[in-house]
Structures are given as C-alpha cells and as structure tokens.
C-alpha cells in the first residue's frame, strides 16, 4: 500500500531540486557570515580571517544606540502583542462557534495580509496627525506600531496551544470549587504559558527585523538596527554591516530555535 502511494520525494529530479533550493536559501547567508570575518576592506576580496569588523561595530556608538533601541522596542512590542493576542485567542477559542468568527479571525490577522507599505504609510499619516495635535513625541509610536503588527504572530502559537488544550481540565477545576478567575489563574494560564512564551519570541523576532514600518514611523534619531543598516548601505559598503547582520542573525536563530522547541508536539 505504502509502496504505491504518491510521494513527492520519489519524483525524478527531486533531490537536485531540493539541493538547489537549499543552496539558494543558505548560500547568501553563508557568504554574509563568512565575509563578516574578512580582513580586507572590500566586500569582494577575501583578505584572511579577522574579527576587526566586530570590534569596529562594537565600538560604533551609532550601532550601540540602534541596538539598544531595537531591543527596547522589541521587548515592549512582544509583551504588549502577547497580552493582546492571548486575550484574542481566549476570546475566539473558548466558546462555541459563533457568527462572524471568520471575520474576527481575519481582522486579527489583518497585518499578515495588508501590504506592509500600506500600513506603514497609514501609520505615518495617523501618527503625524497625533504628534501635531498632542505635541507628544517619543519611542511610544514605534512601540505601538510594532505591537500592532506583531499581534498575529503572537496569536498563532497561542491559539494553537489553546486548541490543543483539553477543555475538561477547566471543567474539572470548576468542579473542584475553583471560581472562573481561579480556574484561569491556576489551570488555563500555566498550561498556556509555553504558547505565550513562543508567541512573545516570535513577536520579538518580527519586531527586531522590521524595516518598512519603522522607516516610515520613526522620527529623527530613532534608528533601529535594521534602519541604521539600511542608511549605512546607502552611503558606503563595509564588512562592518556584515558583522552587525551576523550578530542580528545569531540572536534571531537562537530565538527561533527556542520557539520551535517550545511549540514542538510532544509524543
């Protein structure tokens, strides 16, 4: 039976195709990482191994400044979007199917579907208005914008976790004299925690590498790491950018690995 069933891996040329895809995916990244250790000043010539660019980047005040700002925004955005996403997930899964369910689902995931550039322009216009009217400036606008587009990313793993959760556990808690709030605190929340951590990590990574929305919403002197890098590339290409990129990549890989470990199905 299994012998005869269709399997894409048995198509001719499947292996070649797979290798080509992996090369296309990872060759640029390997090149970038390799050249971040390049002693030469040029992006094209290999001048031997060196950690100079890392030292340079480390000493660069602008890089430090942008890094701190990126991390601060990502932290806030992750926390806020996870809180909102948790409520949204509880609201959409902990009840019988209702009219307009799909509509709400689409609404929550809207940032995944609307072109980012559109959201960016819209936010720029709205925040511009708010800034003129209230006169309030600061990092808050970036945090809000990031929190908003991170919600669907935080929502998905939390919702998945909730859907895999046995509803009888909550019934059992109620049966054992837990009030609805105690049931939530003592049973739902602890069981949801891995999903929330995963959601927060995903949101953190998404916030960390956002360019488009940040570029439109930021005021002067509010560069994050990605927008700083973009600005640098416009001026001169040095392997310093490779070094910064590699560090960003390392953080992302660590976080995403943790994310996959957390959401992995236990058997």
């Amino acid at each position: 039976m299994a012998e005869r069933s269709f399997h894409v891996a048995r198509l001719p040329g499947f292996a070649t195709m797979a290798v080509a895809v992996f090369v296309a995916l990872y060759l640029p990244i390997f090149t970038l990482v390799a050249y971040s250790f390049n002693a030469s000043n040029s992006m094209a010539v290999w001048g031997g191994f060196s950690l100079d660019w890392y030292a340079k980047a480390w000493a660069n005040e602008q890089v430090k400044d942008a890094t701190v700002r990126s991390l601060v925004i990502a932290c806030f955005a992750a926390v806020i979007s996870t809180a909102v996403a948790t409520m949204a997930a509880l609201g959409t899964t902990r009840r019988r199917a209702f009219k307009g369910q799909t509509f709400i689902y689409v609404m929550i995931n809207q940032p995944l579907m609307v072109p980012e550039i559109v959201t960016a322009v819209a936010l720029m216009i709205l925040f511009g208005l708010v800034k003129t009217v209230t006169g309030i400036h600061g990092l808050g606008y970036l945090v809000l914008a990031h929190a908003a587009f991170c919600v669907p990313f935080a929502y998905l793993p939390i919702r998945a976790r909730l859907e895999g959760m046995d509803l009888t556990l909550e019934t059992a808690a109620a049966d054992l004299y837990a009030t609805p709030w105690a049931t939530f605190r003592r049973v739902t929340l602890p069981l949801l925690a891995p999903g929330m951590v995963a959601g927060a990590m995903l949101a953190f990574v998404i916030s960390l590498d956002d360019v488009v929305i940040t570029e439109f919403v930021k005021s002067g002197g509010q560069d994050t790491l990605p927008t700083y890098m973009l600005g640098q590339l416009r001026r001169q290409l040095t392997p310093e950018i490779n070094a910064v990129s590699t560090m960003l990549l390392a953080v992302t890989v660590v976080l995403l690995t943790t994310f996959f470990l957390l959401t992995r199905k236990k058997d």
Binding site: L169, T171, A173, A174, D175, L176, Y177, A178
Partner: protein, 355 residues
C-alpha cells in the same frame, strides 16, 4: 424515606439545540438517589447518562424540572458552588501539577488551612495507595494510577456526592476488575454517595446498591440488581439486562396462549385482547422428553461455554428460545441437534412485561 435522599431529580428535561433540530437528551427524568448508596446509571450509548451526571455536577443547566441536593434546589448553582465532585472518563488530571498538588487542588480552592490540606492529601493518597507517587507529574503514571489520582482528587474535598462517568472504560479487563473492587471499598470506607455511569451491565449488577436503567432519555426502571434482573418492567429492560427469551401470545385467564396453540400457565394473568409479551430467562428452561409434555420444540444447535451449554430451540411456529443448561447435565441428557424435546419452566419464571 425523603430524609435519606441525597440527590433528587424531578421531571428533569434537557434539550440540546433549538426548535425543530432540538434533541431531548433527557425527557422527564425523575429519580431519587439515597444517602451513602452506590447508585448506577446504566443504559446504551446516547441514552443520556452523561447528560444527567453533568446536570447534577452543574456543567449543564436543565431545560426543565429541578435537581435537589438534600432537599435544596441546586439547579442554578455553578459547579464550583456544589458539594459534588466528578471523576472524569478522561481523568482530566492537571498535567502541570504533581500528584499531590492535584489531590490538594479542591481543598485549596475551598480555602482550607495549609496544614489540613497537607494532612487530607496524605490521607487520600494513602487511601488509594499512591503515597510513593506524591511528587510525580501525572503524565508519568500508568492508566490505573491516573485513575486512582482522579479518585483521590475528587474524594479529598469530601463531597456529598461523587459522580463517576464510565471511570473504568479505559482500563484493560484485569485492571478493571481490580478497580471495581477498589471503588466499592472506597465507597464503603468513605460513606459517600456514588453515582456511577456505565454501559456494562455486569459492572452495574455486581457493584451497585441500586440501578437506574435508562433508554432514549428516559428512566425505564430503578431497583436493585435482583429486582431488575428478576422482575424487569418492560421489554427494553428485559433485553438489556442479561439474556432473555421473549414469548408472544394472547392473554387468557391464568395462561398465555402461544402462536402454536400451546398454553403456558401464568397464574395471575387476565384475559385481554391484543398480543401479550412474556419473558423467561434461559436458565429457567428445563428440557425433557416430548412424551413428558411441555412446549414441543426442536434442538437447532448446542453451543458449549465451559460450565454451561446453550441450547437453541425452535418452537413449532418458528419462535426461537435459548436454554442454558449445566454442561454435565446436557451431556447426560444426551441432547443433539435435531432432537425433539419438551420444555418446562421453573415456577413463576414466565412473566408478563410491558412492551
């Protein structure tokens, strides 16, 4: 009598869905469950056993009627305000808590002092013989052990009533037998009223003080195992509990006239128009020689079951009957396929039942 009633369901109706699509899971159910008894709800799948249990626990609200606990109407109380605990079929143990924390959960929610929580938890773990497992996570336990934790957790707050929804169905046969004895012991030791759901009639017969046989959202009969086996009220109860032979005929004064024209003595039967149904259990049939009288029948097949042999018989009009004979006796009787025999019945064994 009313004094020793713990749970009383009165004309309880539970409908799911709206309008024409509504299903009556419970259709006017009234039963009284007595204090400290082992009460079983028995019936085929979908008859409303779980629904009745969920109404008593407070997970569902009745569409009509009321549920009393010690005389007070609890129909509208949420589950956390009812002194009633449940052992779930899936156990529903909290996976993020240890065995001891699971057992302590209800006590903590009731706001008992820490010392009392600890002492009671230990006592409960001892009661189900799981002291050694107190610190383990529940996922590291076997099915039988999880079952015990679920029991200890539900018993710890000392509820007035313990509800058990097919708690043994996930266990293999040997473990199930052990747990049946264990459950009975726990019920006797704690004196708590148990309401037990099963669709296994043997389990119901051996464990219960009283049984409610349910079908299609209605209680068909309530009584002790003996009552229900010996005097089933209707055709459904008779066929659901144990094996039964049905005899249909016309009621005459003091006898039932079968389709074959033969008469079976049934003192107390009054003549009435229309068909009358009577039952007789297979072990109440006595087979003899045709010449000795009785219902004339032919042996269709003999099935050997160890201590018993089932003898399938046909009456002249094709009615099928089964006689359960002790194996040596059937050997001595020298019965074989195709033999003609005369059937007699033990006194009072043939009884009229409602349809």
């Amino acid at each position: 009598m009313a004094d020793d009633v713990t749970i009383s369901a009165r004309h309880v109706i539970k409908a799911f869905g709206q309008g024409a699509a509504a299903v009556r899971a419970l259709d006017d159910v009234s039963v009284d469950i007595r204090r400290s008894e082992f009460f079983t709800l028995l019936g085929p799948s979908g008859c409303g056993k779980t629904t009745l249990l969920r109404l008593i626990a407070g997970f569902e609200m009745p569409t009509g009627g009321e549920i009393l606990l010690d005389g007070a109407d609890i129909s509208t109380l949420p589950p956390n305000k009812r002194p009633v605990n449940t052992v779930f079929q899936s156990y529903a143990l909290f996976p993020h808590l240890t065995v001891a924390q699971n057992v302590a959960f209800g006590l903590q929610m009731l706001g008992k002092p820490a010392a009392e929580v600890k002492a009671t938890t230990e006592r409960m773990l001892a009661l189900v013989k799981l002291e050694a497992m107190a610190g383990r996570k529940t996922a590291q336990l076997s099915g039988g052990q999880q079952q015990r934790v679920a029991l200890a957790r539900a018993l710890a707050p000392q509820p007035k009533v313990l509800l058990l929804d097919e708690p043994l169905s996930a266990l293999d046969l040997k473990l199930r037998k052990e747990m049946q004895i264990e459950l009975k012991r726990l019920q006797l030791e704690t004196g708590i009223t148990f309401v037990f759901v099963t669709h296994d009639q043997e389990e119901a017969l051996t464990m219960s003080d009283r049984i409610a046989v349910m079908s299609a959202g209605k209680v068909q009969q309530v009584g002790t195992a003996r009552d229900i086996y010996i005097h089933p009220r209707n055709r459904f109860v008779a066929s659901f509990i144990g094996e039964t032979n049905f005899l249909t005929g016309t009621a005459e004064d003091g006898a039932l006239r079968l389709g074959t024209g033969e008469r079976i003595e049934m003192p107390g039967l009054r003549a009435s128009p229309g068909p009358t149904t009577a039952i007789v259990r297979p072990e109440q049939l006595r087979l003899g020689k045709t010449a000795d009288g009785g219902l004339q029948a032919r042996v269709v097949s003999l099935v050997y079951f160890g201590t018993d042999t089932h003898c399938h018989l046909h009456l002249a009009d094709g009615t099928e009957l089964v006689a359960r004979l002790q194996s040596p006796a059937s050997g001595e009787a020298g019965l074989s396929r195709g033999d003609s025999v005369g059937i007699r019945f033990a006194e009072g064994a043939v009884q009229q039942v409602e349809d």
